[in-house]
Every structure is written in structure tokens, then in C-alpha cells.
């Protein structure tokens, strides 16, 4: 697919409405790449002029900072802010809640001030403004979906409604898990846990969360974070439930539902 980089836009003398911050998972992880492509497809269909940083994008530093490595975080933040300020970036949309949180809450103190929104908020706007139209005969209609709150969207940034509003526009039945919204159970990936084995315990966090998702008997699990997606998929697979319950990002669900 044709996706412009900021460098290309600059060379052509144009500016995008919004920078799509893809994130490391969205760029490199095979599963998350599908989410990235789904969201890019939606942006194209909605006629949004956007660009990516491409090879100039680097890890925000989130996992390093949360592991305790402030030096590495500051190095990455410095580098990214230099790049984005040079391009005079004003608005950023990202499909990763961890990147979202860092860009939105932690870069301002370091000189990176941008209007940052998460893709579920962006999708909500596009639907409300009529930029994208949900097909009346979309394939999700009448299906049951359970939404897994990402900690970095929910508790960290109080975003509980946008993802739910987007899903509601599909005419589906939303079924909440036992623990949801501010009480939602973590998938187990945050705080740099994604990059190491869990400490020893009686069970795994993603298995516990997968059980709660399975309990709802929903047809699909909706996620809004590439890391939650991986953890939930693995958890459900371990319970031999993969045939029944697929884990999909909200962007993927919407991409298949628009006219």
C-alpha cells in the first residue's frame, strides 16, 4: 500500500493532517502489522491525509523507562522529539496505548508538545463525523464481542468510552468481562513484562484474563493494544479456545465493516 513518509511529504512541500505513529510492534510484529495495515486502510478510505516517520521512527522508550532504565528512555525521547519537532508535527495518532501514553504524557516535559490521540478515539471521531460509514450489513452485526481494556488506555488515561462507542456503532452485542473498565485485569504485558518471562507463580496473568474473556462466551475479543492482542491470543490458544474466540484489534474489526 502507498504510505507517505514525513520526509516524502516535506520534499513534496506538503504537510499531513496527522502523523501516524506506528510503533515498534505495529512495524515489526507480524500480527501487529495487520492492525497497522487495517488502520492505514481506514485512514485512506476516510480520505485522511497522513504520513508516517518510516525509518526515522524509533522506540518511544516506554519499556526501558518502566524497566527502570531512564537513560535509555531519555535517549530515545530526545531522538524522537528532535525528529518530530524538525517536521513541526502537531497531531499524532497511534495504534499503541504505550506509545500513546508516552507521547501524550511524558514527552511534553522534554520539549515534545503534540496533540496525541489513540486510534480508537480517532475512529470514534471518523464515525461521528461521517467520514467513514459502517455498512448496515457488516459481518459483525448480531455477533457478541467482549472488549479487553488496555491498562495504558483505561486506568492510565481514563479512556474507557471511545473503544466501546466504536464497537457499538457496529450493531453488535457488547458483553463485559467480570472485571472491566477501571477494574479491568491487565493482560500481563505492561511494565516491560512483554520482554521477559513472568516471575514464578500459580498461573499466568494472560491465562487468567483469557479465562475471563472465554467466560463471556463472546464470539470475538476486541483489543486496542498490540501487546494485549498477543497476550490474549496466547492465553486463549492455551485454553484451546482459538477456534471459538478470535482476538481482533478494533481497527481490524472496523476495517472490515466500512462501506
Amino acid at each position: 500500500m502507498k504510505v507517505s513518509t514525513m520526509a516524502e511529504m516535506m520534499a513534496a512541500g506538503t504537510k499531513p493532517e496527522v502523523l501516524f505513529w506506528v510503533g515498534c510492534a505495529g512495524s515489526f510484529d507480524q500480527r501487529a502489522q495487520k492492525i497497522t495495515k487495517a488502520f492505514a486502510t481506514i485512514l485512506d478510505k476516510a480520505g485522511v491525509v497522513y504520513a508516517i516517520l518510516g525509518k526515522e521512527e524509533a522506540c518511544t522508550g516506554d519499556p526501558a523507562r518502566r524497566a527502570g532504565n531512564e537513560f535509555m528512555f531519555q535517549m530515545m525521547a530526545y531522538q524522537n522529539i528532535q525528529v518530530m519537532n524538525a517536521y513541526e508535527i502537531k497531531k499524532i495518532v497511534t495504534t499503541c496505548p504505550h506509545c500513546f501514553n508516552t507521547l501524550k504524557n511524558e514527552y511534553p516535559a522534554l520539549g515534545g508538545n503534540y496533540d496525541v490521540i489513540h486510534h480508537t478515539q480517532f475512529l470514534q471521531e471518523l464515525i461521528e463525523n461521517g467520514k467513514i460509514k459502517i455498512s448496515d450489513s457488516n459481518e459483525w452485526k448480531g455477533k457478541t464481542i467482549t472488549y479487553h481494556d488496555s491498562c495504558y488506555l483505561g486506568r492510565a488515561n481514563d479512556i474507557y468510552e471511545a473503544p466501546r462507542k466504536v464497537l457499538e456503532s457496529l450493531d453488535v452485542e457488547l458483553k463485559e468481562m467480570r472485571r472491566c473498565k477501571s477494574k479491568g485485569l491487565c493482560c500481563g504485558a505492561g511494565g516491560a513484562q512483554m520482554f521477559k518471562e513472568e516471575e514464578k507463580g500459580t498461573s499466568r496473568i494472560n491465562m487468567e484474563r483469557a479465562d475471563e474473556a472465554i467466560e463471556t462466551k463472546a464470539d470475538f475479543v476486541a483489543s486496542a493494544c498490540p501487546f494485549c492482542n498477543t497476550m490474549m491470543t496466547d492465553g486463549i490458544k492455551n485454553r484451546n479456545e482459538e477456534v471459538k474466540t478470535e482476538v481482533l484489534d478494533i481497527a481490524e474489526i472496523i476495517a472490515k465493516a466500512i462501506q
Binding site: 522506540c59 486506568r155 477494574k183 500481563g188 487468567e208
Partner: protein, 424 residues
């Protein structure tokens, strides 16, 4: 004789308040051993938190039945203590029900409402005792509480029950009094003559006030101190989004000067300690958090690591911090200043395994009814581990070097970052 008892009461009161005040000042000093942090901005938002979170107990209402019972205890505690005013005046001046003539019909109304509350508190305490000892609610019987903390919790409830019992007995044995709840107890005393009744009333009166003074002085050593500190702790609670981590300006500048040496000042200050190894390296708010914790365990019940059997328990993080701070405080009391005892919060109280299990999901912070952030302490200790001790699991070291060399936590070629655009 009468005269002596008034003097005795006066001395007792002065001593009780003196010892209490002294301990409170020690706690205040201990809290100020923490790093300075400015938390005085946005006073309106902060007062709103005091009203909603502390006074209104908003977080407690995530579980309504328990919240209502807790509200009874809390309202009862505060309102019944208004009666304390009269008790102290009576004790000092040898009066009997000093306010009665001044308040007229309002007096029995007030005492009646105190009595109703006293009964409700009595019942609520029994219920809470049963939750700890008979129903055995999971978070109230966890290993965190083994030993003293469990006794502390039961003791507080038992003392409350005894105090309420004495308050009602005192009124019931007063022949001149006829109040709503204590009048039910009057038949219990029907076989006593006036002199005996007077002795019972006086004994109950003395035990009640002694109990209250003892309870007051027990508070600073108990988890129950939250009844005081919940208020300042709500005022100084973070107003930032929970996802935002505290920025380390020293490191920010170090990176900046490395990248742009022309900005570096010539007189560079000695680098500070990175993160927290001991309680003095934490902020004073972290330390006030530790004294505010009433060990209810809502944090640990919600913690994904704890509920999957990992060693980490956010409640234990808070208890350890307070324990260590008390040790440091006693060290200062003995030596005049802190003398290194070869121990620290990290390692001697909180282990690496506990710290590593945190997913920074903020569930503990969200749950805490008194605005404590155990996560903040966990992160500061993690910072010390990585930046002072270079202590990281192998996988994290791999992640760090991937970020440094490939600009992503995984080992992918940076040139492939936009490869997805070329896939079908």
C-alpha cells in the same frame, strides 16, 4: 478525695495529649526524610479530592455494603468524639453532664443520636471482626498480615467494641439519664442500689476515657493512623494521568548535554543518586503514603501479579516502607542522625523478585481508597536496581541493547521499519 481525682484527670489528659503530639511530630519528621517534591499546585482540584476521596470515601463505594458499614464506623467515630468534649470538661471540673443545662432539649437528642451511632458502630465492628476471623475474606487473611498486622486489625475492632460498650454502660447506670439505647440496658442494673450504680457509672466513665486516651496513643503505631492521614494524603494525591511517570531531570539534562555539549554548564553538580534504594531516596509523599496505609489489601486483591501467585503484593510494599522508615526514625532518635546500619528498603525488605513482577497496570493505584501509589515506589526501586546496580534480567538487557542498536525492543533491522507498507 474528689479534688484529687480531678487533678489526676487533668494530669492524665495533659500526659496523653503530650505523648500523642510528640509521636505525631516524630512521624512528621520521618515523612520529611523523603526527597522534596512540590505538590501545592491546583488547590481547587486538591480540595475536591479531600472532599470526594477522604471525606466522601468515594473509592470505598466501589463495594457498597462494606462502604456503608465503614461509613458508620467513621461517622460514629467522629460524632461520638464530640461527646468527648463534655467528658473532658466533666473530668476536669467535676461537673456531671456539663452541657445538659445549656442545650435544653437538644441535649437528649444529641446523646440519643450518639447512642444510636454507638450501637451501629458496635454492630459494624462485630461484622468486620467476622470478616477477618470467620468469613475470612481472602485479602484479610493473606500472608502479608501474618503476626502483628493481624493482631493490630483485631485489636482496633475489639477496642472500638469495648469503648462503645463502656459509653452505653455509663449512660445506662446513670439513674438520672434515660436515653434511647442505654435505657434498654437498664434492667441489667435493676438489682443495684444507688451507690453501686454510681460506682458502675464512674468506673465505666473512667475506663471509657482511659480507653480513648490509650487508643489515641495507640493510633500512631497502628495501621489505623489512616483516619488522620487519609485527609492530607488525598490533598497531596497526584493530579496527573496515572500513566505519567515522574521525570528524572538530572538524566534528561545529562542526555541533552551529551547530544548538545554547547548547552552544558561548566560547573556541573555531582550526580544525584538514581532511583531509590532506601526510604530517604523516596519522595515525602511516598513516605506519607506508607503511614496512611491501613493494610486493607484492595491493592493486592486487584494486582494481576499477586492474584496469579507472584511474590509481589502492593500492600506489602507499603508495609515494608513504613517498617523501614520506623527503623530509620529510631536510628535517628538514638544517634542524633542516621548512622548507616548496612540495611536498606531494597533487598532487606523488598526483594528483586517482587519488583520485577509489576506490570505497571495501575490497578493498585486505582483501588486505593486513601490515594496511595505503591507503583511509584516500585518504579523508584526498579530505577535504582537498573541504574545504580546494573541489575536486570538477561532478557531486559537484550531489550535495552536492541533499543539502543535497532531502535526497537526486538532485534529487527531498523531499515525494515516501514517494510509493512510493501506487504500485500
Amino acid at each position: 478525695m474528689e479534688f484529687i481525682s480531678h487533678i489526676f484527670f487533668l494530669i492524665l489528659s495533659v500526659v496523653a495529649f503530650y505523648i500523642f503530639g510528640k509521636k505525631i511530630l516524630t512521624i512528621k519528621r520521618n515523612i520529611h526524610l523523603g526527597r522534596p517534591v512540590e505538590l501545592n499546585d491546583q488547590p481547587i482540584a486538591r480540595w475536591k479530592n479531600v472532599f470526594l476521596l477522604a471525606l466522601g470515601q468515594k473509592k470505598m463505594f466501589r463495594n457498597i455494603p462494606v462502604a456503608l458499614l465503614h461509613l458508620i464506623l467513621y461517622v460514629g467515630f467522629i460524632i461520638i468524639n464530640i461527646e468527648l468534649l463534655e467528658i473532658i470538661v466533666d473530668g476536669i471540673f467535676g461537673t456531671h453532664r456539663f452541657f445538659e443545662p445549656f442545650l435544653g432539649v437538644l441535649y437528649p437528642t444529641l446523646i440519643n443520636s450518639f447512642e444510636v451511632l454507638a450501637l451501629l458502630v458496635f454492630v459494624a465492628c462485630l461484622f468486620f471482626l467476622s470478616r477477618r476471623n470467620i468469613i475470612r475474606v481472602k485479602r484479610l487473611i493473606s500472608n502479608d498480615l501474618t503476626g502483628w498486622p493481624k493482631t493490630d486489625a483485631n485489636l482496633i475492632l475489639a477496642i472500638e467494641i469495648v469503648l462503645m460498650g463502656l459509653f452505653l454502660t455509663m449512660n445506662a447506670a446513670d439513674p438520672a439519664a434515660n436515653f434511647i439505647i442505654s435505657s434498654w440496658m437498664k434492667p441489667l442494673f435493676s438489682n443495684f442500689n444507688e451507690h453501686q450504680l454510681h460506682t458502675i457509672e464512674q468506673t465505666a466513665w473512667w475506663m471509657h476515657i482511659l480507653g480513648i486516651y490509650a487508643f489515641m496513643n495507640y493510633l500512631p503505631y497502628s495501621k489505623h493512623l489512616h483516619i488522620v492521614l487519609a485527609f492530607p494524603n488525598a490533598y497531596y494525591a497526584s493530579l496527573e494521568p496515572k500513566g505519567k511517570m515522574h521525570n528524572m531531570v538530572a538524566i534528561q539534562n545529562e542526555v541533552l548535554y551529551a547530544m548538545q555539549p554547547e548547552l552544558a554548564p561548566t560547573n556541573v553538580a555531582a550526580p544525584e543518586k538514581f532511583g531509590a534504594k532506601d526510604v530517604m531516596d523516596l519522595s515525602w509523599k511516598n513516605l506519607m503514603d506508607a503511614y496512611s496505609c491501613t493494610e486493607c489489601g484492595r491493592c493486592s486483591a486487584a494486582c494481576p501479579a499477586n492474584s496469579t501467585g507472584k511474590l509481589l503484593s502492593p500492600r506489602k510494599i507499603m508495609m515494608d516502607t513504613r517498617d523501614r522508615l520506623e527503623i530509620v526514625g529510631k536510628n535517628i532518635d538514638t544517634n542524633g542522625q542516621f548512622v548507616d546500619d548496612g540495611k536498606s528498603l531494597l533487598n532487606d525488605h523488598i526483594t528483586i523478585e517482587e519488583l520485577r513482577a509489576c506490570t505497571t497496570c495501575n490497578a493498585c493505584v486505582e483501588e486505593c481508597p486513601v490515594s496511595i501509589s505503591p507503583m511509584d515506589i516500585i518504579i523508584e526501586l526498579r530505577r535504582s536496581l537498573i541504574m545504580e546496580d546494573s541489575n536486570a534480567p538477561t532478557e531486559w538487557n537484550g531489550m535495552f541493547s536492541n533499543i539502543e542498536n535497532n531502535f526497537a525492543p526486538w532485534k529487527f533491522a531498523p531499515d525494515d521499519r516501514d517494510a509493512w507498507t510493501k506487504q500485500s
